[in-house]
Point group: C2
């Protein structure tokens, strides 16, 4: 039986982009269905009844939820090269540590960088840059987080660089000035077809963010 792969997605979501990159890396054919957050589909509610959030990967009718979990699942089911996680258990544990760090820190702070105001925004900007610097330090002089090959931590982090332009405009930031090596790494990742295909143009993200703020009276 041929694999049936459906991704429930919402295009500006960095979490959804992660899954798309992983699928592209493995060369998996899939159908991408866009969700409307004002009116979630009955399929989404059925497939992710606990969190009711995208992304959901539906593989032969069975759902896998939570983006980092989905990446591991893809890597384990389609277990040919390129591998996303390293084969060495210690290196795997380090990759998972950084994936978790990105989820717990970067993603939780970034919203306030473009939505927050006054003191709250200033504090978020400071924390956000601290996180990026921590990640930049972990990257060091390696081409990718895992070393010579593009992998799990790169997949986890790269989607949110498509939001950098939005953070810079609303947060009055210059990320390249703060974290030049991280920006060089992002450009390197963007040379990969799997990444370039999966990330929307930063101006399109900015357009979405602008509309979102207008719609929610956050301007």
């Amino acid at each position: 039986m041929a694999d049936n792969v459906v991704l429930l997605d919402f295009w500006p979501s960095s979490y959804g982009m992660r899954v798309k990159i992983a699928l592209e890396e493995k060369g998996i054919t899939y159908e991408c269905r866009q969700e409307d957050f004002q009116a979630k589909s009955s399929l989404l509610l059925e497939m992710n009844p606990i969190h009711k959030l995208i992304p959901v990967l539906i593989h032969n009718g069975k759902p896998v939820c939570e983006s980092l979990n989905v990446i591991e699942y893809i890597d384990e089911v389609w277990n040919y090269k390129p591998s996303l996680l390293p084969s060495d258990p210690y290196k795997r544990s380090q990759a998972r540590f950084w994936g978790d760090y990105i989820d717990k820190n970067v993603y939780s702070i970034r919203r306030k960088v473009w939505i927050g105001k006054g003191k709250e925004q200033e504090e978020s900007k400071k924390k956000f840059i601290e996180c990026l610097k921590t990640l930049e330090q972990e990257l060091g002089d390696k081409p990718y987080f895992g070393g010579e090959e593009f992998g799990y931590v790169d997949v986890a982090l790269i989607p949110f660089t498509s939001w950098f332009y939005t953070y810079e405009i609303y947060g009055k930031l210059n990320i390249e000035e703060e974290c030049p090596k991280l920006v060089t790494w992002a450009k390197r990742c963007m040379e990969k077809e799997s990444v370039a295909k999966s990330l929307p143009h930063p101006h399109k993200i900015y357009g979405f963010a602008k509309q979102y703020k207008q719609r929610h009276g956050l301007e």
Copy 2:
């Protein structure tokens, strides 16, 4: 070379208990060092410079941090039976989903159940019981979360049952009344030597919680 395994721990921590259970399940000999949160050791700061938190598993001098990550590492390095994660990729993804659910929900709410006051405490109690009921529903009529065998989700969840007595006293709750199947599951897990050896007596946890509240003026 014999494995050198050191666990940096703080005995009332449910996260630390998880690692102890996993080590016991695999029959690994290890040294447990207690950390003092008022004066963290230089070893802890060196081994977990990012979060500066226990538990840290130091295996032949190399640190692994974050308890669920440590459990996976233990299962991958000492890859003989009993396995903590299932071998089937889909079942693995479901186990990781529930581990993540426990971390994101149960652990983040429970503190306010025994520390919070008034409306905040009431809301936390409600959410806390909702989470437990969701977990109870996932358990269903299976002996363990993964089915017939004790595994990853059991390891992730069982430590915090040693805190149930404390939540019940301070939160004026009766968890057995709310979630009878979950309490039966907890008793089943406690029959395992790996669990019984790793969990402190609930009265000892309550003594710790009481002292903590006194020391921080939270009574």
